[in-house]
Symmetry: C2
Subunit: 485 residues, 2 copies
Amino acid sequence: MARKAGIIGGGVIGGGWAARFLLNGWDVAVFDPDPEAPRKVGEVIANAKRALPALSDGPMPPEGKLTFAATITEAVEGADYIQESVSERLDLKHRVFAQIQQVAPDTPIGSSTSGFKPSELQENAANPATIFVAHPFNPVYLLPLAEIVPSAKSDPALIEGAKETLREIGMFPLHIRKEIDAHIADRFLEAVWREALWLVKDGIATTEEIDEAIRMGFGLRWGQMGLFETYRIAGGEAGMKHFMAQFGPCLTWPWTKLMDVPEFNDELVDLIAGQSDAQSGHHSIRELERIRDQNLIGFLRVLKERNWGAGKVLLDHDARRRQAMPDPSPDHAQPMEMARMHVLPGWIDYNGHMTESRYLFAASETSDAFLRYIGADIAYVGTGFSYYTAETHIMHLGEAKLGDALTGTVQVIHADEKRLHIFLRILKNGEAVATLEQILLHVDMKAGKTCAAPAEILDRLLPIADAHKALPRPEAAGRFVGQKK
Amino acid sequence: MARKAGIIGGGVIGGGWAARFLLNGWDVAVFDPDPEAPRKVGEVIANAKRALPALSDGPMPPEGKLTFAATITEAVEGADYIQESVSERLDLKHRVFAQIQQVAPDTPIGSSTSGFKPSELQENAANPATIFVAHPFNPVYLLPLAEIVPSAKSDPALIEGAKETLREIGMFPLHIRKEIDAHIADRFLEAVWREALWLVKDGIATTEEIDEAIRMGFGLRWGQMGLFETYRIAGGEAGMKHFMAQFGPCLTWPWTKLMDVPEFNDELVDLIAGQSDAQSGHHSIRELERIRDQNLIGFLRVLKERNWGAGKVLLDHDARRRQAMPDPSPDHAQPMEMARMHVLPGWIDYNGHMTESRYLFAASETSDAFLRYIGADIAYVGTGFSYYTAETHIMHLGEAKLGDALTGTVQVIHADEKRLHIFLRILKNGEAVATLEQILLHVDMKAGKTCAAPAEILDRLLPIADAHKALPRPEAAGRFVGQKK
């Protein structure tokens, strides 16, 4: 049975949490007194549906059920996890926690607060042990970070359970051991924000110039390594101590204005809002959201390919999900379903269709899975042998578009010691959008020539080839380019 | 004739400048009294050669000539641009400028200084007008940002010329109108650095936890949008003023410790260096550099695909380079060379070979260029007509590896009003690594069926088809999968 998340507060952050739980198969009940909340949450979820599945290399689990609750009680009753994302007012948060704990005194309650310490959140609570900080970053459905901050009154086992819940929905819970105002990440954001306000106020730079100074330089670095690892490299062979010795003296130089705080007044707000309009006003907020999300998907997939940083979190999440799903045991008596894919943003051309080369990519995903299935997996390739594709014939029969779910099937036409002749179908809703006929050769990679596959592979492959002899030969097999139908 | 850059100081930054100029076709003379400088600069250039070409979609220009000069005079004589990257000591920089201006009083001198103001650099100079800040970010050969800071004494025309030079080598010169200590970007870095030192010193977080807090969250955001554009989105439909109203009050809250500065002593250095070893010590600095570079290439290519931020700089640079090169005027009397590519990091599989689907990708690059050449370009597709691939036959004949230069040629086998039958060769050093035979159909996309191509396309296409009738028919044409050779 699907578990239930109670989401209190349906703004951009609450909506992001709702989307993450929902798309990971949890039922979600949202409470927000704003009559516009269903629309706003709906828009965040629509964004998330365009984005989150693009990070996954396996099929998404069946989506959970979304409801909007009339009361906090209704939202949290029977919930396995509760997330609070109401406005940053401590008295309001206290009232919300009190209502929650009347019906759900033992359920973990994460707070999205940017600034309050968990001990402040817990004040006067019926059960302080279940309340902790779980601070996410916008867009919540894409960025993995959640700062988890317990206090001395927190229940350690409950905190571990909450971290496990967040990992299940693909997040990276960063356990912060000592509570301070604004936790860790927002201290940096606040320092940069204050410095930026000074620069604009003093007329040194506009909002646009500041943004360029960030995203053309160190911003790119920080998406994949943080501050210290980056500086470790800058220290070169001499390392971190050398770097610190070089820049230590700057600490006493006037390199920041943060010994003081800019006065926050209408003039400053107008100055910044006006510059921001000039910089970004030609895009609507919705457009900017989509641009941001597609950029972030791109970055995250780059890191995933390299099993690094946030990409490692995605790979771990895929592996965790695969483990929770039944093993594929394809039916040998028909073309074997070996791969399931979604058409990702990087797969489409300017027409909005899947690009030509991605059909061959989908076929490779399918044939690779088949090769793994008969024992020619990465470990086998590591021994110096592999199947190489010698020849392929592709028929384009239909069109796949962004987000389409595709499956790939394999029919063995002929197999012997050295040769593997297969016919692949890339299907959308059970109809082939492309078929591919291929000859693969078993190769001794060191010698650079074909050789017989070993018994352990042939013992798996040949019975499939035998079973497939009973299948009708595909019409397109043996066809040459331009042949009349 | 190649232009000459004089590079004074051969550390990580000076080496990065040398690499950028060199790979963009400039001759480079480096001066650094350190006898190890040629080795150190050589290592940076080796890194750059593995990385910078992967950002370009056209052929790189012929590499310039690298020399190590025995004196500053030798390095800067006849130089068109001079970049100073010596240690951050003002007296040393003044001595360097004095020596430079004895032989090159009118040449632009950019300084890589992180902190000094241009007016400080210009003090006592023979010609203050040519000295300015050109502050780059490590790795200089990948990150586009260079902060250009002139003073009141600077020559505006010289500054514009220097910015143009930096654009030519693929950088993004950010012109900073008012000089302050540490310019713009390093003010943020310094604020974050000071806050981070506090967090480590106070035992709130380790260097690793801080790095995760950055790269799992806001670091990913900042690689593509800066501070203000990100917050504009966070403000939602209510926009920037709403965001500021929400977080304005925090300015007076204890969200940063930057009203004070941590004491810089051995204890702090040891604490941080020790934590950094525990976090990253299992990778050598060289490994970390390569990991960082591959991640950055990935991010930059994502942004390039989307024509956004730093990716727009790359596209503009490609266009600028294309303009500087002669137009492709392929010879109709033989298979026409339509595309040149390098095998990029994302194109290779776990064997280190180009993945199967990338051969079809290389072919698409080639056939797309051919279609553009006959007039079926993006603008034409915008009118609702296009060529769709119906069928492809691929022969794999060789292997391409990371960094290999490939060319793609087109031979027209047959063309009529609706059909285009072509034979593509993907060549490495003139030898085909793959051949592809394709049928493309001219399609009315709205009606979803084939139709005759218009005269303006046929007028370009049919003469080529006629000329190609004289070419020998490729052996692989008309071949079916598994046919005996």
